[in-house]
Amino acid sequence: MFNIHPLIWLIPLPPLLGFVLIVLFTRRSNRTSHNVALVGSGLSFVASMVVFFKAVTTDGLAGSPISASINWLPTGADWLRIGVLVDPLTAVMLFFVAWTVLMIFIYSIGYHNFGQPAGRNDRPGFSPEGAEAKEHGKAHKVPSVEPMYARFFALLSLFAFAMYLLVVSDNLLTLYIGWEIMGFCSYFLIGFWYGKESARKAGIKAFITTRIGDVFMLLGMVALYSVTGTLNFHEIFSNPQTMLMLTSTQSPAFGLNWAGLIGLLLFCGTVGKSAQFPLHVWLPDAMEGPTPVSAMIHAATMVSAGVYLSARLFPLMSAGWHHGGALTAPMAAMAVIGGFTALFTSTIALAQHDIKRVLAYSTISQLGYMIAALGIGAYTAAVFHLVTHAFFKALLFLGSGSVIHGMEHGVLHTGNHIDPQDMRHMGGLRRRMPLTFWTFLAGGLALSGFPLITAGFWSKDEILNGTFTGGHIGLFIVLAITAFLTAFYTARQITLVFFGKPRSTAAEHAHETKPVMTVPLMILAIFAIGAGWAGIPHAFPVLGAISPAWFQSFIGSMLSPQSIEEAHSNIPLIVSVLVSLGGLLLGWLVYRCMETAEEKDPLQKISGSVYNLLQNKYWIDELYQKALINPSLWLADKVVYQFIDLKIIDGILHGLGRAGVGLGNLLRAKFDLPVVNGAGDGLAGSTRGLGVFLHKLQNGRVQTYLLIAVACTVVLVLVICFLIGEGVIGVTE
């Protein structure tokens, strides 16, 4: 077998190269640009697959991961080293990241209408409005190509680069670099149609909100670095002395040990990136971006990165914990925040009308699931859910994009300007968009955990099992309710979009999207169904006996023996099946009778004010605006700038200046004018008189001057001779 190390280094590079090439050279040509981007992500895909298969065929990978590093930054006598690392966690991350990223790249070509004419009114910064085209002899409006097509692929490539960088990093620093570059790309991609006020706001919101988490993460990172002297994961976690020191030394804050404090700080990064409460607000607004971006950000990459960070740092977060023991502070925080977020946001998802927003809230909720699972130590279950969720959520987002695309077609066709993302205007798309329907259904069922045949079932069941057998009954109930709500709103979504009759003319004229969009959907659908079979637990009735439980043993090898969960119980299994099927059935029953777009939501009829609260997301955005953003802007402008700088500091300066001028004036009035000027004026007067006299001599003629000079010289010579004669001046021989 050849040396795998160079290949790992090379995984992130092709997309970066693609970004550079597109930005510098090919941005004028749409076709070349997307080809460059595709080749870039394709190369990374191939390399990732090779590395993945190398990883799964290596024995004892967790104990001795494939890694390599180089000196990067001199720090006194030492060096900060950066490098790459492939262990089981990296391997599974690479697997799903590579697949989803490639699918999203392909899908984007269709989504941005490659090959369509450019619209007459389309401008950069706005979503394309459609172009006139002749079809069957009649003038039609058809979708037009995105004006900033090449730029989209450039940014997508940069994004892919950052994600790969994050996954293959062997240390927190390069992980952070990838993490932040992704944050920047998401800012840019969310605000892709920057001409729209909502888009530019959403981009900034995403950046700032995640940055709140990131600055804490930065602190955690430097704390870890200064305590342990390294940022390399493997060096820290595989060194018992370091781990002991982290757990046994008191940190300066809150009576925590170092592991606890650093874990909490780093977890703040996850809260921001994975949009956990209270920093969840950016993610729904991030739907302003083009749909492939939503998928990229929400499912495949950025938000998974948050969970990945927590999973990666699990040995640190759980330092000092053993299975069944009391949770450490970071773990408790994760369990509480994750569980709360899961329930909280799934209730919001119940009342959203925008097809993408429902998915956004569902994403937050599912991420909360994973975080909560990590928090109670169900490590493999959390990672498992991370993988399956990435597939089915990417599928759902791309599917919703396909639906929106079909609806937009209908909108352009009919000229009836409705919101193509509003589910109330859809309905009956099952017949018009069959491929989208079937793949979306697969994704939806996986999300709601439809028993046995979907991937979501297996991973969700694992998590519920973990909470139950771990003795965290409260969390178990919360997550079970969440699972029920998830199934309910998924059923609501599928029913509203695909079943029943079309509720608008646009929906009647929607039609299936091109293969370039549907093929990725089908591929992802395969994973949304099949990915779960890699992790059927041994203890599962009947099926467990024939399952290799490959995922559990592969990822489980990452853990130290005392934190492996073994137990299995059938109670969570039954609950899981019940809530899933029950939620789906109830959702279908409630929503199948929606007839028109103007009709009130059935839930709204039952509980108007609660529904209102949910629809407005518990007024959290408004609360933040009033309680945090406005005061800090006021502080910045009125206090720091206007008051401290302009009033106080400059005021003192101007006061000093005025005092100086005043003193000067006083001296002038009392001293200069009478005393100095009195003498001065007399002198000046006589000088002036002399000047008037001498002026006459100065007639400008050189010869006159010379004559005067000669005359003076003669006089001078005579005087000197006279003085010599008188003996006043002595002459020495």
Binding site: L694, Q698, N699, G700, R701, V702, Q703, V710
Partner: protein, 104 residues
């Protein structure tokens, strides 16, 4: 040997002629020529004194001094002529009395 005062007489005469020209001539070029006369009168004076007082002692100061004066004179002529030409270009005259912009 020719007595020293012959040289001094010659130089005094030359100097006076030069001075007279400088003071009385109206044409600036003549004035310049007068200046040259005065300079060379001074040269003769220097050389004469050198020859009689210092040359016997082997000093070469006087010669060098004279050479420097030559160079200065040449430079001065060049600059002076240049000035005159440019003054002529500007004012269309070389008459000294008309060039009186120094008047206070």
């Amino acid at each position: 040997m020719i007595p020293l005062y012959w040289f001094l007489m010659l130089s005094a005469v030359l100097f006076s002629l030069g001075l007279f020209a400088v003071i009385t001539r109206r044409n600036t070029i003549s004035i310049l020529m007068g200046i040259e006369l005065m300079l060379n009168a001074a040269n003769i004076n220097i050389l004469a004194f050198w020859r009689y007082l210092y040359a016997p002692r082997g000093d070469m100061d006087g010669l060098i001094f004279t050479l420097i004066v030559f160079v200065t004179a040449a430079a001065e002529v060049a600059v002076g002529l240049g000035l005159i030409v440019s003054a002529y270009r500007k004012r269309r005259t070389v008459v000294a009395n008309d060039l009186d912009s120094l008047k206070g």
